[in-house]
Structures are given as C-alpha cells and as structure tokens.
Symmetry: C2
Subunit: 424 residues, 2 copies
C-alpha cells in the first residue's frame, strides 16, 4: 500500500526541479523557529501562557509618539482627498524624504539625496542587494551574525553545501571572538567580494569604534571589495566620537553601501520603512556604477515604500520627531541597563547594552539552546540562543531591550533566581 501511495503522490509532482540553493538552507529562518518553540511550550503548558515575557526578537513595544503618529495619520487621511491623493511614487522614495535623510543622518558626510534609496526595510534591502550581486560573488559574514546575510547568500547561489559545523562552503566567516570585543581579526580573514558588517551589532551588541571602522574601510579599499554596512541600530549610539554611519570614515564612499531602518528608531517594525545608501562613486571593475544597477533592482523588483509610511518618516526626521525618538531610545537603553544588571546578578560576563539594545551574555560553557529552553520552561521568558546566529554564537544568549520596562524587571527577577549558573 505504501508503495502505491508514494507512486500516486509522485505522479502529482511537477516536472520542475526545486532550486538547489533552497535545499542547502538549514531548517527554518531563526525567528519563526523561536516562535514555534514558544507556541509548543504554550500548547504543552496552557496555564503558563499568560506569564510569558519576550526578550526574544528585537521587536519594539512602545506606541508611536504623538508627532510621528500625526505624520502617519496625515499620510493616510490625505489619500481620501483629491488634492492629497497619490498613486505610484518614485520607486526610490519621495524626493523630500531622500533629502531629509541625507541632511539628518549624513550631515557629517558627503552623502547626497540621490544616493539614498527609501525602502520597506533593511531586511528587504539586503535581499535586493543580493539580487544585484547575483551568484558570482563571494560574501563574508560575521560569526555570529544576523541570519539574513547568510541565508540570502545561500539562496542566491553564492555558497556551497553546509558542513558538519553548520557553516557553508564558499562563504567567508569573520570570526568575532569575545576577547576582541566581537570584532574580527581582519588579518585572518580571507578576501571576499562583499563584506557584511553590522554595528551596533545584532546579536552581540558590540559597537565598533572609529579605529575599528577605519580598519574595516582600509581593508575593503585594499581588496577592492564592497562593504555592506548595516546601521539599523545607529541611533542607539550615545557615546561621543563613535561613528553612527560608515560614511563618517574617509574613503568609505568608494567601498561602502549602508543599509538602515526606521524600525528600531521610531517603532516602525510593523509599519515598514528603511533606506539604503549607494554612493555615486562606487564602480564595478568594468567601470559601471553600482548605483545604476541598484536603481534597476529598485525599479524592477520593488514599487516604492508605502506613501502613508513615508509621510510618517518625514515626521520622524522633523525636530519634534527627533525629540520623540531620543526619548524612545532612552527608554530602551534604560531597559538594557536592567538586562545588564541581570547578567551581573547571575555572575555572567556580557557585552552590549551600552550604545545598543542587545545584551549578549556569556553562558560559561552552557549550551545556548539548552539555556534558552531552561529559561523558557522555568521562567517563561523567551530569549534568543546565540547558536541561532552561527557557531560563533554558541555559549551565549541574547536579551533584547525592546520589551516593556516592567517585563525587563520581571524577567530579571525570575531569571536571577534560577540556579543553572550557580557553582560555576
């Protein structure tokens, strides 16, 4: 019977081969996997469902403040009037918003409005950059790393198969060790065509210094490589002298692309708004402009960020909006202090939480998935296991400061009482 069934099923299948790059991908995308484990816990323990606190995915929880909200509401309302209605806008974003981003976020650089491409978010832009790069480039990612750099490099055919260590052949891993403040030893990193680098870092919370960024830019220039710099958490940087854009480093406009977002900045994780800067000076080896190809991707594979949300983006970058954002960021950085305190309670080392919303805790040799499970089961707190960000994250746990204040305090109370780290 089984054989007959199998034959019947295979007779239904298409005569189209699956994209082999998708077969290489390991399991599901990390954050949905965390959600599945949380749901499984709730299903098995329905009485504890109400107790769950999430310090997991970096998802904002504070409402959008008044002035920024008025920009969103106005953006929606005006679509109901003949004079305010707008249909397709420029795929690259509204001219006013590109200008305001250039002026507000790149004041200390040479970046101009026509180098800014407005989008529906940094994650989507990373995928669009990969469409542009195609399968012929070698990419380098930090280890540990935000999974999207790795997964898109695999999807787009830049890598080989995964090895026993969970790493992909033909993908360069820039090991970011704790003893070096999670910055790679660049002299040990082989050349790649494209280096993905995120600072303030997700997941480690490490913030690259000006000297480190200079080293990174010098390396990209020496190699003639592209540095994709993910600055989605830049507004959390409060320490004077720490660059908030890669373009503050001289020479970066000849090697870097910067990906950015309003998500963490203004509570727009669900509203969707980001941008990418591709400098005019960036040229492929044949002399063609990188910006022209990215423009082709934006016009062919995208149709512009929502006009309603772009109106909210304009409000974010007004003087009132900036004040509101500062206050949101202060709130989340206050949460980060509580989570640093939790690590102190447990007698564990950590990095992050200063100038960044993530606290990355050293589990002293404990497995990160096991610790994730223990904390979920015993404390009903969702965290993210470092191993989910690659082998270099094993032995660490990421706490997100984007939860409400009381949730961070309660999570600290609960987790500081468990004894998994006692006696170590």
């Amino acid at each position: 019977m089984k054989v007959v069934l199998a034959l019947a099923l295979s007779a239904e299948a298409l005569n189209v081969a699956r994209n082999p790059n998708f077969a290489k991908l390991q399991g599901g995308y990390l954050f949905p996997e965390i959600g599945r484990r949380r749901s499984a816990f709730v299903a098995a323990n329905p009485d504890k469902a109400d107790k769950i606190i999430s310090l997991g995915i970096g998802d904002t929880t504070k409402p959008i403040p008044e002035h920024i909200l008025s920009g969103l509401v106005e953006g929606a309302s005006k679509l109901g009037t003949q004079e305010g209605y707008s249909g397709y806008g420029a795929e690259q974003g509204m001219g006013d918003l590109r200008q305001r981003i250039a002026e507000s976020c790149y004041a200390n650089t040479n970046i101009k409005a026509d180098e800014v491409f407005v989008s529906d978010g940094a994650k989507c832009d990373i995928a669009r950059l990969q469409i542009m790069f195609g399968s012929g480039v070698t990419s380098a990612v930090q280890d540990p790393s935000y999974p999207v750099y790795v997964d898109t490099s695999v999807m787009f055919g830049q890598t080989g198969e995964v090895d026993a260590n969970g790493q992909f052949n033909n993908l360069v891993y820039m090991k970011c060790p704790k003893e070096n403040n999670f910055f790679p030893h660049l002299d040990e990193v082989p050349r790649a065509d494209v280096y993905y680098f995120c600072s303030p870092n997700n997941p480690t919370g490490a913030v690259a210094t000006k000297a480190q960024l200079e080293e990174l830019v010098a390396r990209a220039l020496k190699d003639g490589s592209i540095l994709v710099f993910d600055a989605a958490y830049a507004p959390f940087i409060k320490t004077p002298g720490v660059p908030t854009s890669i373009f503050e480093i001289p020479g970066a406009e000849k090697c870097a692309i910067e990906v950015n977002s309003f998500s963490k900045y203004a509570g727009f994780t669900g509203a969707r708004l980001g941008w990418t800067v591709v400098p005019d000076a960036l040229e492929y080896s044949d002399g063609s402009k990188v910006r022209d190809d990215f423009n082709r991707v934006m016009t062919t594979c995208f149709n512009g960020a929502s006009n309603v949300i772009q109106s909210g983006g304009m409000a974010c970058l007004s003087p009132e909006g900036k004040k509101e954002i500062d206050s949101l960021i202060d709130y989340y950085l206050g949460n980060a202090k509580i989570l640093q305190g939790l690590a102190d309670d447990l007698g564990l080392d950590y990095i992050g939480g200063d100038d960044s919303p993530y606290v990355f805790v050293d589990l002293k040799g404990h497995s990160s998935w096991d610790t994730f499970s223990t904390i979920l089961e015993e404390c009903q707190v969702v965290t993210i296991p470092g191993a989910g960000f690659g082998p270099g994250g094993e032995g660490f746990l990421r706490f997100s400061a984007f939860a409400p204040r009381e949730a961070c305090e309660e999570a600290r109370r609960r987790i500081s009482q468990i004894d998994i780290f006692k006696g170590q």
Copy 2:
C-alpha cells in the same frame, strides 16, 4: 590628458565584477523611461507643462473612498496606543486578512487562508517568486508582456543575451497575435518550466475566456510546469462566466500560483498591498512543497506588508469596502468606454476596455514610439508605446483608463483631431 583621466578613474573602480545578468538588460525599466521622456518634453516646452494629461502608467487617480480610508486611518492611529500598537507581524500577513482574502476572492475555489501570502504588491511578489525559482528554470512570457516578467527572468540569470529582435535567448515568448484576441497559439509554444500569464492583460486589455484558461491549465498540467497567473486586474471583469481567478479552473491548484493586488482594486498603488496564492498541492519534482520554499523567501527576504496598510486591506474586503470598490471600478470602466470611443474616432481597431482598464489600439502599421512622441508633442498626452512591452506590441499603443474622467474626455478631444491616421 584623456588617457590619464581614464586610468585615474579605473584605479578607483572596485575589484568586484558586475553581475553579468544586469549587463544583458536593455536600457531602463519601461515606466521610468516614459517618465524621462515626459520630463524631457516639459524641459523643452515649459509653457506646455500644465497641459499634460497622462494615459500612461496604470496609476489610479481617484481618492480612496470613505470606509476603506477609515481602515487605513485606524490602522495608523492605533499604533499610537499601547493596546493598539503592533510591531513585527507574521511575514505572511495578518491571519484575519489572509482569511478574508480566501473567503472573498476565492469563494468558488478550494483555496484556504494558509495558501495566501500577503505582500507589498504583485510586482514585488513576482521578484520574490523569481528568487525562489532561481537561475535553473526556463520561463515563458507573453509577447507583448508586462516588462517585469522578462526583466526579472534576465536579472536572475535564466536567459542568454538579447538578440537583434530585442528578445532574449533561452526565454520562451508566447506570441499573442491580434487575430487570436491576443491569446497565444499554445501548440506553437515550446515547453517552459514557468509560464507567466496575465488576464485581464497588461498591456493588451485582452481577457482570457474560461475555455482559454482551461487550455492553459491543461497545457501546464501536461508539461508538469508552473503557471504564474497575474490576476491584478481581475475585479474589472464584469461579464458573467469569465473566471476572475485561475483557481476556478479544475486542476489549477496542481500547477498554478496566482499573484494579485489591491492596487488597481482600491487605489492602493501608492499604499502598497497585494498577495500571492501558492497552493499546498504544488510540489517540485523531488516532492518538496513549493509553498515551503516561498514561505522561506517571505520570511528571509521580506518582513510583512505594513500593518497600517493591511488594516486598510481588511476594510477593502468588508461589505462597505466592496461597494466602494465596485463604484471605483465602474468609474474607471466608464473611462475605458471614452478611450474606446477615441479609437473609434480615429478609425482604429482596438482590444480591451471591456472587463479591463486598458485599451490597446492598432496603429495600422505606424511605429509605436513615433506615435507616442507625436501624441506627446502635438496633444500633450502621455500614452505607452506597445513596443515597450516587447516586439509583439509594436504597432500598438496602450491607453490607461486610470486617469480622471475629464482627462480622458479632453485626451479624446485632442487626439481625435490630429491627422496621423487620416487617409490610411
């Protein structure tokens, strides 16, 4: 001096090769090219700038009606309250909206909510489908065709170089001749892994009959191929018995993916909302589910449609919203009648404008780009030359009915007076 300059410039270029697929692409994406020609005309004739009427890009111009607007405004407003705030949602869309799309748009089919993926629009979904298919498939497109199917097939490396005729090697063109109501002679079409088919069609305005869609599904099933059916204009179908979804055809759930959009439906071209249906039953030749790979693309390369706009989508599919949409569609179909009348005035054959918002006019052998230019220069009306949609569109001009009523009437007055077709 020139040589020195060239050397100096090339010394600045990166040591990264341009993605060769981008070099294959011909010129810019069509609609920005139309915009550039319009801008050039305005720059040369500033006194005529105010006179310009656009029957070009299919961009809605009527404000969003009251009830649908209230959904958008409420979606924005609630982000300002603690109880209404939401951050990241499911990348596949809000459960309620997936359910409502399944119930409203697929009532006569077996499509279920978990086969519906909500997105920021059909164009973006076509690119995401191409990410999933990868470079190893052969694709087939209608000729003439919406340019995105062709351009993404080229970008993703499925094709060879362009030939003298402007067609790409290794891309199958399904010639859609006027004498066959712009439906292909399928027995003359070589097999492809993926067939892109749009009905009501952009640009021709042709609407496939039930018998034609049955023929198409039978062909895809016989070949074991995937039929990507673009139904973005389906709500314009008013003639009883003409299917509004490919899934009304028995067997389609075993071969078809349907791409759809709220853009033309509800004036959401700028707001951005669409969806794609990937049936559970679709399996690649290795037995893996197509839906699982599309889900991986949605979770890795996308972060969900804006929560604000999804709230507007819910309002669209409420009873009040549907009435408002019917009235919007009646308005645009009324415009299409005017544009059909214009073709009659000129003594020209046309297709479209019944059950579709585009009127595709046979220029009786005149060049479509030349006619585009003549009408822009003499009448200050922007149209779209058929050749922009591929060689099969040469000799035709597309009028879009999405302009305001008075603009359609005025365009008819102006164009019916020029004499390019007289004496033919």
